[in-house]
């Protein structure tokens, strides 16, 4: 049993502040001395690389495609941000081709293979990187990769604005 916890943040609609919340929480936990990893699973509209103004050579897309290991994807921001703990980030590719590619890749075979790769990477994060908290930023709505990401989480946070419309679509998507 892995000691770390996986926390996924989801919203039915976009623009709820999910990315801001998850990024700050991850940084806060790392500042408190914990080992944290934040993965941007909003594969359809990546934003973490813009938020942290960072980039990486390889992305989560490469991991899912079996072209990279989790170690190739992670960017360590701990020293740069002066954190007591560790903050590893995994970005998804902001490239138009990659976003389009993930949009049309609905075949079950690929989806399951990609999910298996992610589950194996997740185990590696807990066992080798000794991660305490794995934060997963999901894409809004009911989409293949938001389902995949949510399924792997131990704790799920649903983020919504305090408006009737947001609450309504949450109950009746």
């Amino acid at each position: 049993m892995s000691p770390g916890k996986t926390l996924a943040f989801h919203s039915y609609k976009g623009g709820t502040g999910k990315t801001t919340l998850i990024s700050n929480l991850a940084a806060f936990f790392a500042k408190r001395g914990m080992r944290v990893c934040l993965l941007d699973f909003d594969l359809y509209a990546p934003s973490q690389s813009i938020y942290f103004r960072k980039n990486s050579r390889l992305y989560l897309n490469n991991l899912l495609n079996g072209e990279a290991e989790i170690s190739d994807v992670l960017v360590d921001l701990s020293s740069e941000l002066g954190l007591n703990g560790k903050l590893f980030l995994g970005f998804s590719s902001p490239g138009k081709e990659d976003v389009r590619d993930i949009e049309i890749k609905h075949e079950m075979k690929w989806q399951l293979a990609a999910l298996r790769r992610f589950l194996s990477a997740k185990n590696q994060l807990f066992e080798e990187y000794k991660i305490d908290y794995l934060f997963l930023d999901t894409s809004p709505g009911i989409r293949y990769w938001s389902i995949n990401t949510l399924a792997t989480a131990d704790i799920l946070f649903l983020v919504m604005k305090n408006s009737d419309m947001d609450i309504e679509v949450f109950y009746n998507p």
């Binding site: 989806q111 399951l112 999910l115 589950l119 293949y144 389902i147 995949n148 399924a151």
Partner: protein, 396 residues
């Protein structure tokens, strides 16, 4: 109690059984009569059967909703059982025109309503599976009776009484369901879609027409045992592939099942065109069973998909009547016997006609909405992901 076989269905088990029994009992009765004692009827008597079936189907579709459904269904089944029993009491040729008319009437009167009943109480995304199971039930029952009669070697009278018993299984439907308007599903298309219905009727007509012509190609006196064996295999294939087609059609849409059916029947004609032999006859009948299975299942679905409650009986009447007209009139086509002598080239022409009838299907609208297909794919995805993740958690 809800029926879980369909996974996400809210179709009650009693209503499910009632819908299947009602249609299966009647269709199984029809196919058993057609293939086992069809030779009792002359061409003229057979024509009377189909004319009465067709006319009564049209008449019944026009008065649907104006009569008490339960009483109507009871009278319809009782007429079917009675007219079948009368065959044993009056086997003389002189009574045949009257009896075939009565049998035709007992088929056509309620068939559109019972088919519409399936559509009325199902959601569009589960309708093909229910239809597939109905076809499986129909031919499963027919196969069971056929095998029983072969083993026990019944005489004609017992055989006919057995068919009456098959028909009477539909009575059970009345015990299981009240057939009231309540709990019927009022949804689907905003208005009946006649244009697309015509596009779907063309291949259905071609399919029946071509199959009838091909049936006439086989010299049945010469290949009696091959036809008997082939017919058995054909029924098994119809049952199995009707069932499979239903599942395919609820997942990928109705059009692929129809196109597969047309292609398979085209291929089976090509096999028959290689030359008439016992093995070719058996292979043809078996392969064509695959095509019939998918067609039967799909044409139990499409009229329901394109119509709304109240107009459904008319759609189903058309689907039933047109083949009956063809079935009755094919033996009267002048010069058919001369033409079918050139079986090889004739089969190639039939194959070509079938391949061409794919065109209207391609042009027609898919009746299962894209959103329903996506929803199903997503549900499957969720289930598989759930299994994969829980398996991975167990490993941890």
């Amino acid at each position: 109690m809800n029926f879980n076989f369909l996974g996400d269905s809210r179709f009650s088990s009693k209503r499910f059984a009632a819908a299947i029994l009602l249609t299966s009992g009647t269709l199984a009765w029809f196919f058993l009569i057609q293939f086992n004692i069809g030779n009792l009827f002359t061409n003229a008597a057979a024509l009377l059967f189909y004319v009465f079936a067709a006319v009564s189907a049209i008449a019944a579709s026009l008065i649907s909703g104006k009569v008490d459904n339960r009483i109507f269904i009871f009278c319809w089944i009782a007429l079917g059982v009675l007219s079948t029993v009368l065959l044993t009491l009056f086997p003389q040729r002189v009574f045949m025109p009257f009896l075939s008319s009565l049998l035709g009437l007992s088929l056509g009167l309620g068939l559109p309503s019972t088919m519409a009943f399936i559509a009325d109480c199902t959601f569009i995304e589960e309708r093909a599976r229910i239809s597939g199971i109905t076809i499986f039930g129909t031919f499963g029952l027919a196969i069971f009776v056929m095998i029983t009669t072969r083993i026990l070697d019944f005489g004609l009278s017992t055989l006919i009484l057995l068919f009456a018993l098959v028909r009477s299984t539909s009575f059970l439907a009345l015990v299981l369901d009240k057939f009231d308007e309540k709990n019927m599903r009022k949804e689907e298309v905003p208005r009946p879609d006649y244009k697309d219905f015509v596009s779907y009727i063309i291949p259905w007509m071609m399919f029946i027409f071509v199959s009838m012509l091909a049936w006439n190609l086989i010299p049945q006196d010469q290949y009696t045992s091959a036809v008997t064996v082939g017919q058995m295999f054909r029924f098994i294939c119809i049952a199995v592939f009707g069932f499979i087609s239903g599942f395919i059609a609820d997942r990928f849409g109705r059009k692929p099942s129809i196109i597969i059916g047309l292609i398979v029947l085209g291929v089976s004609f090509a096999i028959l065109g290689q030359g008439m032999s016992e093995s070719n006859v058996i292979v043809y009948l078996t392969t064509s069973g695959v095509a019939w299975g998918s067609f039967f299942a799909m044409y139990l679905v499409i009229p329901g998909d394109l119509s709304i409650s109240g107009s459904r009986e008319k759609f189903y009447a058309l689907i039933t009547v047109l083949p009956m007209i063809l079935l009755g009139s094919v033996p009267f086509i002048p010069g058919l016997a001369d033409f079918t002598r050139y079986s090889s080239s004739f089969s190639q022409i039939l194959s070509l006609i079938l391949f061409l009838s794919i065109i209207p299907v391609l042009r027609a609208k898919e009746t299962l909405p894209d959103i329903k297909m996506r929803e199903r794919r997503l549900k499957d995805h969720v289930e598989k992901v759930g299994k994969l993740v829980s398996k991975s958690k167990k490993k941890e």
